[in-house]
């Protein structure tokens, strides 16, 4: 991806161009080698904190302990594969349904948003109660984590058909099924693969997080045990495994894409969700109304289930009991919610500011961008939250750790959107500024920044639910107060009414954050 120049580059001499091309590949590799080397030297000199071992020590640990890794790897791989397949199957059925029957499109998309906005770690304890403490709840969590990008890719791809193609199939008097099979589905493939690539990392994250509660084996379990027993090299091994899993999942999807998409296709997944829906500006209200309707239906079904099958409260307490729990100790829930929102808000704020700063630097110094952007893209596909244990080890069990974990979870989507925004300026606009002899700062302030604002809000909308999730995850690890901690604690103590109330509250918070940021995005993009 050449993100640097919108203005044509002056012609280089052959040698200089070759050197430039070479440096484009060598600089990121060189930087990686330099960082590793410096870490090694610093470790030798005893300069590193206790939470950061020398790279060679981690490598040795891999060689020494590789036998113990396999039993952990197998269940995680099963959860990832099963969850990914489940998500793909459900998303495909729903996307095809939405395409064939237009009226189902909005309900399906809105329901998917509700699923997406749920902090998935909140669901793990319930799923374990319902499905048993085996592979099944982990597969479901993995599927929930990867479902949304897959669905978005498919929906967008099934819609991406040019008008002429559509008319051609009308002139040929093709049946609905022929249109779907011969035109819409193959045409959707590039978009579907874009969604699958995003989902690959989410699936790994889902599997790992699901193993943090209750599992006896798995990479996530290994990570959690190692952290609580302060086996630092093992934490690093688990984190590296986790990143490798994400890279492998991404690579597999990429290989399949190269196998099945041999034609030249451009599929840029639209980060703005607005384009996927049928309606106009009234949509925000619509989505809100939908979610409320969903909730009402859920509550009705919930009560109905309990009455119809006389379900014992330990499987599913009634809505009345749950609300009674809220009423009994509202201050506990309010204060925990406050802690979680504080962590998420501080992390998100830090993330927006730093992303703006870095993106601005990238624009002014294209060489810096060329060096670092490959990292950004590589790391973006890794589940950043998996690094949370390392952060907790390094910074201690406090607010700072939580904020940093949130920052890590949000930084990359934010940065990518900021860079995209700054570069979204058309070249003729840049040429206009050049002709008028505008300074670099003027070009930035008068052109790039205003152009970038819609993208920034898109970034915030994508990042905000991640921030809430990350804040809750960090509480699981640090033991800091907040909704995530409340869920973990009440689940461990089998205080089911509290568990249910906390889960409901976190789901409602996720939805509220989504609505709020979605509304802001629409307001700005109007």
């Amino acid at each position: 991806m050449s993100l640097s120049h919108s203005l044509p580059m002056p012609a280089h001499t052959g040698l200089r161009r070759q050197l430039a091309r070479l440096s484009q590949h060598l600089l990121p590799l060189g930087l990686a080698a330099a960082v590793l080397g410096m870490l090694e030297l610093a470790a030798g000199a005893g300069l590193l904190p206790i939470s950061v071992p020398a790279p060679s020590a981690v490598a040795q640990a891999f060689v020494r302990d590789h036998a113990m890794l396999w039993p952990h790897l197998a269940p995680t791989l099963q959860a990832i594969a099963g969850g990914f397949a489940l998500a793909l199957a459900v998303a495909t059925v729903l996307a095809v349904l939405a395409t064939l029957a237009r009226t189902t499109r909005d309900p399906i998309y809105n329901a998917a948003i509700v699923v997406q906005a749920m902090p998935l770690i909140a669901l793990t304890p319930i799923l374990i109660i319902w499905l048993g403490n085996g592979l099944a709840p982990r597969i479901v969590v993995t599927a929930l984590a990867s479902f949304f990008p897959i669905l978005v890719g498919l929906l967008q791809g099934l819609r991406a058909c040019e008008r002429g193609m559509d008319e051609l199939f009308t002139v040929m008097a093709a049946s609905r099924w022929q249109r779907l099979r011969m035109l819409l589905l193959p045409n959707a493939l590039p978009f579907a693969f874009s969604g699958l690539k995003v989902a690959a990392a989410s699936a790994v994250l889902g599997a790992i997080v699901s193993e943090w509660t209750g599992a006896t084996q798995g990479v996530g379990t290994m990570m959690a045990y190692a952290m609580f027993s302060f086996k630092i090299e093992q934490v690093w091994m688990a984190v590296i495994l986790c990143v490798l899993l994400a890279v492998a999942a991404y690579g597999l999807v990429h290989a399949l894409e190269r196998r099945f998409v041999r034609w030249e296709a451009v599929a840029v997944l639209n980060a703005g969700s607005a384009s996927l829906r049928e309606g106009g500006p009234r949509r925000v209200l619509h989505v809100a109304a939908w979610s409320i309707a969903c909730m009402a239906l859920l509550l009705a079904g919930w009560s109905g289930l309990i009455h119809a099958f006389s379900i014992p409260p330990y499987l599913l307490p009634s809505p009345q009991e749950t609300f009674a729990t809220f009423q009994a100790t509202p201050q506990i829930f309010a204060s925990n919610l406050g802690f979680t929102l504080r962590t998420a808000g501080l992390g998100l704020g830090a993330c927006v500011l730093s992303a703006l700063l870095v993106a601005g630097l990238f624009i002014q110094l294209p060489a810096l961008e060329r060096t670092l952007m490959p990292f950004v893209i590589a790391v973006r596909s890794a589940p950043m939250v998996a690094i949370a244990p390392l952060i907790t080890l390094s910074f201690g069990r406090n607010l700072l750790s939580g904020v940093i974990v949130v920052w890590m979870a949000c930084f990359f989507p934010m940065l990518v959107n900021a860079v995209r925004g700054f570069q979204g300026v058309r070249s003729t606009h840049l040429e206009l500024m050049r002709v008028n002899a505008a300074s670099a700062w003027q070009t930035f302030a008068m052109l790039r920044f205003p152009f970038a604002i819609p993208h920034l809000f898109t970034g915030i909308r994508v990042a905000a639910p991640k921030a809430v999730l990350a804040a809750m995850l960090s509480e699981w690890l640090t033991g800091a107060r907040g909704l995530g901690h409340l869920i973990l604690e009440s689940s461990a103590m089998m205080e089911l009414p509290t568990l249910w109330a906390a889960i409901l509250l976190s789901v409602a918070t996720g939805l509220a954050v989504f609505w709020l940021t979605d509304a802001c995005e629409r307001k700005v993009q109007k």
Binding site: E162, G164, F169, T170, V171, M182, W263
Partner: protein
């Protein structure tokens, strides 16, 4: 019987606020085997008219018949060929598969004189049967689209500015090719264009359209001999025809539109 009869056709699009009249009282007829063109400024409803003939959309008033039958039955019988401004090829299918696509959709065996292989040769793409569209130039892609439109031996070939996306030199060459193919197949053809010389060069009959609402303001028969050649473009009859069309297009009521 006329191959195409358009009778008092009107088309109104409903918008969020109110509606827009795209066509009003459009009538035209085309004899079997003739080449007709519709010419007019951008946005006058030419393409809309072509899409009504192809039964892609339906008129809000008036009637269209293709060899006596309504467009829908012609379409369902797969007797309509359509060439779009863009080649509109499926990028994952080879040239051969794209040409054969209407056969696949109709689940029919190739017609003897319209075998995909023969059509590919007719449009001059022998040797490119297994190429993917992205490996072809714009002109070559449009040749594939023309071959595809002929594979079911259509009663009528509808062309929506088929060479509008090509450069002028390629475009003139493609026009000659198209005339040759049309003559060899004997199909009735109706083409939309906004080029005066293209309209005169190709047609037996030119229909002039004016915008908002689109209506036929003039009809001009072109009596130049066939087969047409580039040399004919220098004939006084050719220039006269162009000048007559230009007068029609820039008639007082039309020019008022242009200023507004």
């Amino acid at each position: 019987m006329a191959a195409l009869q358009v009778d008092q056709v009107g088309m109104t699009f409903a918008l969020e606020k109110g509606s827009i009249k795209a066509l009003e009282g459009v009538s035209l007829g085309l004899a079997s085997g003739a080449f007709g063109t519709i010419i007019g400024p951008s946005g006058c409803g030419k393409s809309t008219l072509l899409r009504l003939v192809a039964d892609i959309t339906q008129p809000t008033s008036g009637h269209i018949t293709l060899a006596g039958a309504p467009p829908q039955s012609a379409r369902l019988a797969r007797r309509i060929g359509f060439v779009f401004q863009e080649a509109t090829l499926l990028p994952w299918k080879t040239v051969m598969e794209n040409v054969a696509l209407p056969l696949t959709v109709a689940r029919r065996a190739p017609i003897a004189s319209r075998h995909p292989q023969e059509l590919i040769e007719l449009v001059g793409l022998k040797g490119f049967e297994q190429a993917l569209p992205s490996q072809l130039s714009g002109g070559m892609q449009q040749r594939v689209a023309i071959a595809r439109s002929l594979v079911l031996d259509p009663h009528i070939l509808l062309l929506d500015e088929p060479f509008g996306a090509l450069d002028d030199i390629t475009r003139q060459r493609m026009n000659l090719e198209l005339l040759r193919i049309w003559a060899e197949t004997g199909t009735t053809a109706l083409m939309v264009t906004h080029s005066l010389s293209e309209a005169v060069f190709m047609s037996d009959k030119v229909f002039v359209m004016s915008p908002r609402p689109g209506r036929i303001t003039a009809e001009l028969a072109i009596d130049l001999p066939r087969p047409r050649s580039q040399a004919m473009m220098k004939l006084p009859a050719f220039t006269d025809a162009i000048n007559m069309l230009r007068d029609q297009l820039f008639a007082p009521d039309a020019s008022a539109e242009l200023v507004a």
